[in-house]
């Protein structure tokens, strides 16, 4: 029984590298809010992840978080905790879960969910203040999430 599950999981993981990214609605969380499976099946790129983290037009994580060791961040905020050492304190699955939907890890947190497309009150069309013209896209793509997870994992 156990063997079959393992093989099944292994073949799924192998296939995932070539499959489409996991859709926001299909992400599986553990009870603690972690996400074990990669959203893309491919490893993230930490340099890209840093760009997503610090660019106002992408993740804009610096709006709320500082990383003291990175002096190249412009105007980091302090609404969220400093992230130095977070790659030491948090597993990849935990980081992925926090990025995907932080509310499953921190109940009621002000940190936005970066891979979620429904369940919002009066969602708008980006920052226009207008109603959306179609279905929402997640704040970050599966690939961007994996890149940021890879970047955060380097913070040791």
């Amino acid at each position: 029984m156990r063997l079959t599950t393992l093989t099944l999981a292994a073949s799924l993981a192998a296939g995932a590298a070539f499959a489409n990214p996991v859709a926001p609605a299909d992400v599986v969380f553990t009870d603690d809010g972690a996400v074990e499976a990669s959203l893309t099946g491919a490893p993230g790129n930490p340099e890209q992840g840093f760009k997503v983290f610090s660019d106002k037009k992408q993740g804009n994580c610096v709006a709320c978080h500082n990383i003291e060791a990175r002096t190249d961040l412009s105007f980091p905020g302090n609404v969220g905790p400093m992230l130095d050492g977070v790659g030491e304190n948090r597993s990849v699955a935990e980081l992925r879960g926090i990025l995907t939907n932080s509310k499953n890890t921190f109940e009621g947190t002000v940190m936005p969910a970066y891979y979620k497309v429904d369940g919002f009150t009066r969602p708008g069309d980006d920052y226009t203040g207008k109603a959306p013209s179609g279905p929402l896209s997640p704040l970050l793509s599966a690939e961007q999430i994996e890149d940021v997870v890879a970047f955060l994992s380097t913070l040791k």
């Binding site: 302090n78 708008g124 920052y127 203040g129």
Partner: protein, 270 residues
């Protein structure tokens, strides 16, 4: 290392005295209805940098006064089918002393909570036979500036009970409702995180005692609903319109969170 950064980001201890004589209450005990949420209410002035603060301390440096001057002319200008100006009925603008401090206010005859903007348009349409001013247009905001100035230094004191209570409750509900794809409420930023930095912005309590506010960003007076709209938009939400029932209710509620602070309008903000 964390401590000094924190205290730097907190509200400062400067004193706001205008023209060297009018001392303003910019920090005071929170009104009873905020029990459990905030113990002290703080004017947005404390969260601005020294240069911006200084511009509000002297009317010669306060660029918001240009809007007030424009409105003073309009106050005396006859408009509409009845051949009247504001001055025809109200005399000098000084007669408006105390008005800003209690608005938004329940209007018994109309059976509704009215903002200053609504009251001004009511006088224009029903008493002057003139066109409504655009709710968040410059002429309207300047006129609100002129009227606010007459109450400068008086404590905000909006009524939240009696017939205004239902509107106030609606405003409170809106204040705590998270909106948009970022899923943030007014409270997420202005109650839970005032004093913190969100990117380059120093978060205040989001009080409206300073409105209308001259913003360095767009170099003119800005009304309360305009600010609300910007903040809601920044949660990646579909906003409400200026003058909408939702923003009227929210204005009453937010004004009441500042009960006890001095009326500061026109203030200077970035």
């Amino acid at each position: 290392l964390a401590l000094p950064t924190l205290s730097l980001a907190d509200a400062d201890d400067d004193k706001l005295v205008i023209n060297g004589e009018l001392e303003m209450v910019t920090k005071t005990a929170a009104p009873a209805h905020l029990d459990g949420a905030l113990s002290e209410v703080i004017s947005g002035w404390h969260f601005r940098d020294d240069d911006t603060q200084k511009m509000q301390m002297d009317d010669f440096d306060n660029a918001g006064m240009l809007g007030v001057e424009a409105a003073a002319e309009m106050w005396n200008a006859v408009d509409g089918s009845e051949g009247k100006s504001c001055a025809s009925c109200h005399g000098e603008a000084e007669s408006m002393k105390g008005v800003r401090a209690v608005y938004p206010k329940w209007n018994e005859a109309a059976g509704e909570v009215r903002t200053l903007e609504m009251q001004i348009n009511d006088c224009r349409t029903t008493r002057m036979g003139a066109e409504e001013l655009k709710y968040a247009g410059d002429e309207m905001t300047n006129m609100v500036g002129l009227i606010s100035l007459q109450s400068r230094g008086m404590p905000v004191n909006v009524a939240i009970d009696g017939p205004a209570q239902a509107t106030w409750e609606q405003g409170k509900e809106l204040y705590y409702t998270r909106t948009g794809q970022l899923d943030l409420s007014c409270a997420s930023c202005h109650e839970q995180n005032y004093g913190n930095m969100i990117r380059a912005d120093h978060l205040s309590q989001g009080q409206i005692n300073g409105f209308p506010a001259y913003r360095l960003k767009n170099a003119k007076l800005n009304g309360v609903h305009n600010r609300f709209k910007g903040c809601v938009r920044d949660t990646r939400a579909e906003t409400y319109k200026e003058g909408s029932p939702e923003f009227i209710a929210l204005e009453l509620y937010v004004a009441s969170r500042g009960n006890g602070l001095s009326v500061e309008g026109p203030s200077i903000r970035n």
